[in-house]
Amino acid sequence: MSVIDTINNLIKIVGDAVADLVVGILGAGQIADLVIMGLGALVLCTAVALTFMGMTWAERKVVARIQNRVGPNQAGPFGLLQPIADGIKMFTKEDTTPASADRWVYNAAPLIIATFALLTFSVLPFAPGVVGANINIGVFFVIAVGSASTVAILMAGWGSNNKYSLLGAFRTVAQLVGYEVPMLLNVIPVIVLSGSMSLVDIVQRQTLADGNPGIPFIVYLPLSALAFFIAGVAETGRSPFDLLEAESEIVAGFHVEYSGMKFALFMLGEYVNTLAVSIVFVILFLGGYAGPILPSYIWLLIKTALVFFVFMWLRGTLPRVRVDQLMALNWKVMVPLSVVNIIAVLILAKVFVTSPGLQSANGGILVAPEAQALILFVANIVILLSGLSIMARRARVLRLAEEAQIESRRAANRATASNFIGGAPAK
């Protein structure tokens, strides 16, 4: 085995060595398996938690730069020790539970949110052969586990027994739960193209037979990728969809009563969810860990960092959307466009097939993968543009109607005013 192969498969080799060690100590059997799995899970959780700390630092630094500030620069070089300082603070800060809180519910909510955020990582492939659990329902599992956070948010809102918390939890859930629908719908074209829900298979479908990256699905499905990304931003409750922590309106939303470690767990849940959405986006649309020259896990890291940078960029620049805009964007734009897009992809993928086997089975026109990608790309763009133009026309009609209404009201006001002046009885 060459040095390059060793570097490429570093994670797998280390993992196998540890597994061999455990088997050597305990002997092969169910207990050894359990210990290996436990070690793997522990390493995974710790790695994700450390990434969380790094993410908080990176986000502060990047958003500060975007807004012409410096960001953390006191603790260590470039403020690199800031997350550790934060951690120490979180650990040692007094943690009050309101006297009127529903104790069990109040304490369980942050644990649930953090646990299920971490659980997502058990099915994500990080490199060839490096995946906690390669299950046949991977994407579906990720979306399903992501929906657990809504329950935890409601628990936090209720458990605090605080008006702001409960209202914040309600608003959050009612507004953000809807974005699960476009998320579900936009995964379907990807599954249609790859023929499997397993994340490993989806990455493989975007990789050529010789291991080089093929055409990523973002080229096939730009509209789906865009909608999935927007839905992902909204699902994680980040700016510009961060209505759940609209400080100016409902203080800090559902976690206003939380402090200390429990508050840290809510933050961890948010950032870990963001990381998970970034990685899932990379896997679904950017070809996952596939890439030339560099080891695959480095490629995954680069691509994920890129997606997360866009997240931070949005946070640094965009103002918060209004509630009604948020709902309208979801139900009146993204869901109908996604459904139209699914229909188009279904028809086109059935008519233009890429393998002779499928052609002989179901008919259709045999084309090269590049041609199929081009056809789907054009269809996606056409749907997106026509959707946008319909929206623009509709917005214009609404605006004109509103202006006409204002104008007529003004005219009516003028009429009454002149009446009053003309016919007012003298005192």
């Binding site: 959780c45 650990f91 953090a114 646990t115 659990a133 309600f170 709902m327 008919g363």
Partner: protein
């Protein structure tokens, strides 16, 4: 496949225990000096008025129900998406019919103003 789900189970337990340990360790490290004022419900510094019994608007419920119905509709599409390569071409028509019916539901909600948040 089975060991995969076993790993998910182990991951669930590990993550939960890890988070629990973090909270427990913090409870050992942190100071604990409760006072009645500290334990009051936070209301921007004002005296807390009443319970958290707020009357909610029914709009929240309507959005939730639209979401639930679309959610189950989406779930039914997943097995079809996996089987897409092996189904005959008329199957696409069935799914289009399915999606069209869902769109009719969305259109109804739209026309009734249920998608309008105000």
């Amino acid at each position: 496949m089975r060991t995969d789900f076993a790993f998910i189970g182990v991951m669930l337990v590990t993550a939960f225990l890890l988070m629990g340990v973090a909270v427990f360790a913090a409870s050992l490290l942190r100071p604990k000096k409760p006072s009645p004022a500290k334990l009051e419900t936070y209301e921007c510094g004002m005296e807390t008025v009443g319970d958290a019994w707020v009357q909610f608007r029914v709009q929240y419920y309507i959005f939730a129900l639209i979401f639930v119905l679309f959610d189950v509709g989406g779930v039914l599409l997943f097995p079809f998406a996996v089987a897409f390569n092996v189904v005959p071409i008329y199957a696409v028509l069935v799914v289009i019919l399915f999606l069209g019916t869902l769109m009719m539901a969305l259109l109804y909600a739209w026309r009734k103003g249920a998608l309008q948040w105000d």
